[in-house]
Symmetry: C2
């Protein structure tokens, strides 16, 4: 997968936020030579020290200013609730004409928070790689995380196409497949495919946790029968998910409302023994599963 | 894992219902010699033919009477809604003193449906192996399905202990770990660990299926980010799950009501930006996940 024969996409890429995603980007672009130099920055001194120990960046900067100065590319990999602050700290110091991108799971809010800090001549190309694991932090990243996964770009209307192409090229060289999409549409699609499933998973863990005594301990013991798959989703980073929920509030609450209506309809069918309705709902789940297998996303 | 040196648990075991679980039992006990002879019966002629082709039983019976006659053990592996009918057809023909067991996911309903058909001198030992895959039918079974998995027994109060020990022994020889539990307690534990997760998974697939046009197609395309794990759960057999839902109605509706209250509380916190509440809920999910890892159920 190495692409060293191609020219670097950026001379100096600043990676801000070295969690699972940021540290995976650093590892991959450095391994492939997709950028000339990787400068890492994280607001947490412990993360900065660990990144230096891991040796996954060419340089670890101690301040936002030092991190951004001289960079022609910046990828913001902080929780979506921290994007505005990170943009304010970093963007003023970038090279003229720099390209700013991000990896946030909500796109409307990131555009709203980051755009006001964009210097004259710089461009913003919002992006969201659909990749992750249940782990977080700089140790959890790996260079192949994005191989064969989608990265969604939500370009600003009327924005610079050359910048969009550079960011797309960066992601393709990280192994991802790239698709462009409107930011609001992105937030609705992710609300149902990712944010709502996580909300349901966190919630059922809480519901189980509230059960008393023996039942609660046996829930853990006999988790293998479905519940376990929910707990895997529910193991994700709390700050990241808090920010996603509050920054995609409207789309998420709409999807939850639709889901709740559907769950109540299922409850009513179970209460009154409406077997046709129950089977129809289950069959739809199977059809969706088959569709996923057909398009090789299962 | 072979245990041919031990005496067979039953001289002739009738396996009724040759789906994923029934066919896995047949394969395992025959491979290990845990029973003297395996007679298979299924109400569906196509399944009977397929079981004969697969050669996973010593004999495939064409009628319930022929299947049960001469058997000192019977394991009912039909959907829980079909247990009463299967018991009525099979139980009168068993050998005197035979042991009847089952693999149903709801135990109160199975006891209620099967017990009235139990001949004088025969005993019922309800059981539920916590094992499965997203596949169904006689081709989907395999001999190692139960290795290291729990099998819950819910013995009838005051019932014959020797029969309980025989069924426990059968399951241990199938590779399972055995635990006894009260039938009502079983149904509550399974309502939250298995039945509710499946209901939520079926429901979110339906909610996604109802989305219009482009959003719906992109939900499938970008399913990787959480939704995919739900569709895996949702691929299970419709009749089996319809029966589970209607036969564990009270416990399931209670757990769904608790869950819905908790989901609404999360929605309210998201709407009003109550970040502490959101983080607390997410942290609980992580704690439960860690507990599972500690007790090696993750």
């Amino acid at each position: 997968m190495s692409a060293t024969s191609e020219a670097p996409v950026f001379r100096r890429l600043c990676v801000a936020g070295l969690g699972l995603i940021g540290s995976s980007i650093a590892r991959r672009v450095r391994q492939d030579g997709s950028v000339g130099e990787v400068v890492a920055f994280d607001a947490d001194p412990a993360v900065r020290r660990r990144v230096a120990e891991l040796g996954i960046a060419d340089r670890v900067a101690e301040t936002a200013r030092d991190a951004a100065e001289g960079a022609d590319g910046l990828v913001l990999c902080v929780p979506v609730g921290a994007m505005g602050r990170a943009a304010a700290d970093l963007l003023p110091h970038l090279l003229p004409g720099a390209v700013v991108t991000d990896v946030g799971s909500t796109k409307v809010s990131v555009i709203r928070e980051v755009l006001p800090h964009l210097p004259e001549g710089a461009t913003l190309v919002p992006a969201h790689p659909l990749a992750g694991t249940e782990y977080s932090g700089p140790d959890s990243g790996f260079a192949t995380l994005f191989d064969g996964r989608w990265c969604l770009l939500t370009p600003i209307e009327g924005g610079d196409r050359a910048s969009v192409e550079r960011v797309a090229s960066l992601w393709r060289r990280c192994g991802a497949m790239v698709q462009e999409m409107d930011a609001e549409h992105h937030d609705r699609v992710l609300a149902i495919t990712s944010h709502l499933p996580h909300l349901l998973a966190f919630t059922i863990c809480g519901t189980a946790d509230d059960l008393q005594g023996e039942t609660r301990s046996e829930v853990l013991r006999f988790a293998a029968s479905g519940f376990r798959d929910f707990t895997r989703i529910a193991a994700s980073d709390p700050v990241m998910w808090r920010d996603i929920f509050t920054n995609n509030r409207d789309a998420l609450l709409e999807m939850l409302a639709r889901f709740t209506e559907d769950a109540q309809a299922m409850a009513r069918a179970i209460r009154w023994g409406d077997e046709d309705f129950i089977v129809d709902r289950i069959e739809r789940g199977r059809r969706i599963r088959r569709s996923l297998i057909e398009i090789k996303q299962a």
